[in-house]
């Protein structure tokens, strides 16, 4: 270990899934021909004026409530002034020192603030590489310009690139389940910059931070942060100081280039937006937003662990996908009392997901939630072996129906151990032993691996209907006594 600990904060921009833009009635879009969703407002034509999108405010309040933030009853918009062709008014309408939400927490990370602002237009550099350098000219597409954005800034509570990745995933599924954004990094509806510094392990002071930009996938985010921690650590170990700067991550070379240093830091000359009146979040708006919030992933995950006894990995996987969690809870509800435990039902969800496809919604498959828990109950009662039950599930996915009926129809019922009549499991085990005396002898000597061929024989003969554990037990017993 280097003796230094990383300190990471994230700055996330989320495009809201409203129907129209933040300050005008143009429709939101992605991938349409350029400049077909524009108007005087989002083009910054002379004489145009902004009007606040009420739905965007509702969504921002929902986000604040979901993150446990304080919702400001009164907040204002500010102009953030800078010249660039993707900014048609040469200022962005944003929020500065009176944002709509302050504070909050999600998982292990405290939220510093949440505010509303508008997105810029899209600059396209016409040339071979698509980058500014070497391009003949640049053109601007204003379809995106004015899209509502919520900016979420965390406190520097993250301590590793992996943790940042995991936390951003939690934020993403939370926002997704809130229904306020598609939060898709590929489409730009989720963007994340990182502020990274290091300090001696155990110190409470903050080191000089660098701002990392252009990490447009979860993988690049993790790699970029990791590269920066390494860079700063090497600097400090060489006795040099970290300079506050903005760095641009290049995924091709997995390296960081400086964009600007502190001396050139922009003075945005913030002042209150005179074309808008203060934003009042009334009790009605707040109550409606609260009403619209479903049980969110972090809470659901915690409930699954605490009340249902699921392991944290399983709880997380279910809670992070609402369709899975909803389906799972329906399956639990439909199981007759005492027939099956929540853990047992949960264990069948990955099996189902594997068969229907990982992006699919189980409630749209042919397997009813009740069928799944009934199948789990049959396994629990040893009415069918685990292996046979997997085949039943495959059949359920293909045809639907009732698991008990399928077991009956296919003759997949578990074979009991009763001896005597030739169909019993004991008879088959004896036949297995007789067919491979060498293996039997090794098992008697205590060679655990040698039991494999014997188990295989029995499973083939029973077409998988025998319970694997039961077979193993019987083989040992019969070998021992035989």
């Amino acid at each position: 270990m280097s003796g230094y600990e990383p300190v990471i904060g994230l700055e996330i921009h989320v495009q809201l899934k409203t129907r129209t833009k933040m300050f005008c009635g143009c429709e939101l879009s992605f991938g349409d021909p350029p400049n077909i969703h524009c108007c005087p407002v989002c083009l910054g034509l002379p004489g145009a004026l902004p009007v606040v999108n009420a739905r965007a405010v509702d969504f921002a309040v929902m986000i604040g409530l979901a993150l446990g933030s304080d919702i400001a009853p009164r907040s204002i918009f500010h102009r953030k002034n800078y010249f660039y062709p993707d900014s048609p008014k040469a200022y962005q309408i944003s929020q500065y020192d009176e944002p709509i939400c302050r504070g909050g927490r999600l998982g292990d990370v405290r939220i510093h603030r949440v505010h509303l602002e508008e997105d810029a237009a899209k600059l396209i550099h016409v040339g071979e590489s698509g980058r500014i350098h070497g391009s003949d000219r640049s053109v601007v597409d204003f379809n995106r310009c004015g899209t509502p954005l919520v900016e979420i800034v965390t406190e520097p509570d993250l301590r590793s690139p992996e943790q940042a990745h995991e936390w951003l995933t939690l934020l993403r599924v939370t926002l997704r389940q809130l229904g306020v954004s598609d939060v898709n990094m590929d489409e730009g509806s989720l963007r994340c910059d990182a502020n990274v510094s290091i300090r001696p392990a155990g110190s409470t002071e903050l080191g000089t931070k660098a701002e990392l930009k252009n990490m447009n996938s979860f993988r690049f985010l993790e790699r970029g942060i990791r590269a920066e921690i390494a860079r700063q650590t090497a600097l400090v170990q060489a006795g040099e100081a970290v300079v506050q700067e903005t760095l641009h991550y290049d995924p091709v070379t997995d390296s960081l280039t400086s964009l600007r240093s502190k001396e050139e830091a922009h003075d945005y000359r913030y002042f209150p937006e005179p074309d808008l009146v203060p934003l009042l979040v009334t009790d009605e708006i707040r109550a409606a937003a609260q009403e619209a919030i479903p049980e969110l992933p972090a809470a659901r995950m915690e409930r699954f662990e605490r009340e249902l006894g699921l392991a944290s990995g399983m709880a997380r996987d279910l809670a992070f996908r609402r369709e899975l969690a909803d389906y799972y809870e329906r399956a639990l509800a439909e199981a007759p009392a005492g027939t099956v435990t929540p853990v047992e039902v949960a264990n069948w969800i990955p099996q189902l997901v594997e068969r229907i496809g990982s992006g699919e919604d189980p409630s749209e498959s042919r397997v009813s939630a009740g069928a799944l828990s009934a199948l789990a109950a049959m396994v629990s009662a040893k009415e069918v072996s685990r292996d046979a039950a997997r085949d039943v599930l495959t059949t359920l996915v293909a045809e639907g129906g009732d698991p008990a009926a399928i077991v009956e129809r296919e003759g997949l019922g578990a074979i009991s151990a009763d001896g005597g009549d030739g169909n019993g499991l004991v008879a088959i085990v004896d036949a297995a032993i007789a067919s491979d005396p060498d293996a039997a002898a090794k098992v008697k000597e205590g060679n655990v691996k040698a039991i494999g061929p014997l188990v295989g024989y029995v499973m083939r003969e029973t077409k998988g209907r025998a319970d694997g554990g039961e077979v193993t037990r019987l083989i040992r017993e019969r070998v021992g006594s035989g």
């Binding site: 145009a48 004026l49 048609p88 008014k89 000359r269 913030y270």
Partner: protein
């Protein structure tokens, strides 16, 4: 023809409705005069009469509109080279309101560039001449609208007032100008100078026409978040006297006995005479106090340029208007476009505004100016507890000679001394011609509480009738 020109707008509308005169003929009478204009009052004149509806409230009476109002398909340049030839794809709400009520668009009028000026000498399209004396300025920034109405080239016109740009040119041209309460008229489609101060308003020959036109301009517009509905409609004035009206004369604006505040002797004399006239109509006249008014000009010349520095940043050569150096790099294109497209006063104010907002200076300048503004609003609210209206000379002096004040920007800023406090407080003000001084018109200003337009117009009307100013001299 000349009988048509001598009709007030209200009279003309009534005659069109009564089918006594023809709207197309009326339009053509004005159009011909506008096309032959020698005052440089216009940046665009219609080439033919648009269809008119004689049944409508404004019955096809032609209207001239300041260059900075967006009029779809018609050049809207805000008096600037950076927007030369720009034709917007949409029309300003107040213009649409008036045309929906039956007004017809006659012309766009010349103005100080981006409404920055008090003499119309800052226009990229040349200065406007005062019809009372062509060697003198008409005032600004709405100099073109004021000169056109005074010279009978249009029956009435729209202007905008940010620090006095309707009231002051109205005074210098001997006509009526009204700045309504901030928010009464929508700013949608008004090329912005200072967002928290800009207001559209009418220039007319008399108060009755002013009330008529204003009533068809106001109204809440969902496209302007700062617009509000008038609590009561603007009614035609009828007052015959000023009985029970308490007029307050702010000591801080008028100074002591002598000319301490720089008000011209002839203007001061006329002002005193008008006050006596008001008393004879039954008004009481007393001194009132606006303790923070002496700081109004300083606060204004920080707030307005600050907002303007942001409002004018969009003129960058990328999407519309002038572009210079499009084949160079971005910063070169930006600097050359703006260097060539903006005039010196605009550049001066952009620099001032940028400085006032910059890091380390915000609190001392812009932040403090906002606080002073609040104080000024409070001063007016206090005064209106005891007085109905505040009265002042509209302008400290009559029309000055072209070039007389262009060497010193601060001297030019002093034109707004008596009008800026009302702009900062967002309250309405009206200027009516109250006489002549050395042959040049003098204006009298009344200002009332927010949304007091009807009462203020009524009081102005009573005074106007008693003054009996003859506006026809400038129409000859």
């Amino acid at each position: 023809m000349s009988e048509l020109i001598e009709l007030t707008a209200a009279e003309a509308a009534a005659k069109v409705r009564a089918r006594e005169i023809d709207a197309a003929e009326l339009f053509e009478a004005y159009r011909a005069r506008a096309a032959a204009d020698e005052l440089n009052a216009f940046t665009w004149v219609a080439t033919e009469a648009p269809p008119a509806d004689p049944e409508s409230p404004l019955a096809g009476v032609p209207l001239a509109v300041k260059d900075l109002f967006c009029t779809e398909g018609v050049p809207s340049q805000a008096g600037s080279k950076i927007l030369e030839g720009y034709r917007p794809p949409y029309t300003a709400t107040v213009v649409a309101n008036a045309t929906r009520a039956g007004a017809t668009l006659l012309a766009k009028t010349n103005q100080d560039e981006f409404a920055m000026g008090s003499s119309n000498e800052n226009s990229a399209f040349g200065p406007v001449l005062n019809p009372w004396d062509r060697g003198r300025v008409p005032g600004g920034s709405s100099g073109g609208s004021a000169a056109a109405v005074a010279a009978g080239l249009t029956p009435w016109a729209f202007g905008t007032d940010t620090g006095g740009s309707i009231r002051q040119p109205a005074a210098l041209c001997g006509i009526v100008g009204i700045k309504p309460t901030y928010g009464a008229c929508s700013r949608w489609g008004m090329i912005a100078f200072a967002s928290s101060l800009d207001q559209a308003g009418p220039f007319t020959r008399n108060v009755t026409d002013g009330a008529l036109l204003l009533s068809h301009m106001v109204g809440h517009d969902p496209r302007d978040s700062t617009s509000v509905a008038m609590p009561e409609p603007i009614s035609a004035p009828t007052a015959e006297d000023l009985k029970g009206i308490r007029l307050g004369v702010p000591e801080e604006l008028l100074g002591g006995g002598d000319n301490g505040m720089g008000i011209e002797a002839g203007v001061r004399e006329n002002f005193e005479a008008t006050l006596k006239l008001a008393e004879s109509l039954g008004a009481t006249v007393d001194t009132c106090h606006l303790p923070h008014a002496p700081h109004a000009l300083s606060a204004y010349y920080l707030i307005a340029p600050a907002e303007a520095s942001a409002n004018l940043a969009r003129y960058d050569g990328v999407r519309y208007g002038l572009r210079v150096g499009g084949d160079t790099d971005l910063n070169t294109m930006y600097s050359r476009t703006r260097a060539e497209g903006f005039g010196p006063e605009v550049k001066r104010r952009i620099m001032l505004g940028t400085y006032a907002l910059s890091s380390g200076y915000y609190d001392a300048y812009y932040g403090t100016a906002l606080k002073v503004r609040t104080k000024i609003s409070e001063d007016f609210r206090t005064v209106f507890g005891e007085f109905d209206f505040v009265v002042t000379p509209t302008s400290p002096w009559t029309a000055f000679e072209l070039g007389a004040k262009t060497a010193d920007p601060l001297a030019m800023y002093l034109n707004d001394f008596c009008t800026v406090p009302m702009s900062l407080a967002g309250i309405p003000g009206i200027s009516i011609p109250s006489g002549l001084s050395d042959g040049l018109p003098v204006g009298f200003q009344l200002a009332g509480p927010a949304f007091s337009e009807s009462r203020m117009i009524d009081a102005a009307y009573a005074l106007e009738q008693a003054i009996g100013f003859d506006t026809s001299a400038a129409r000859a």
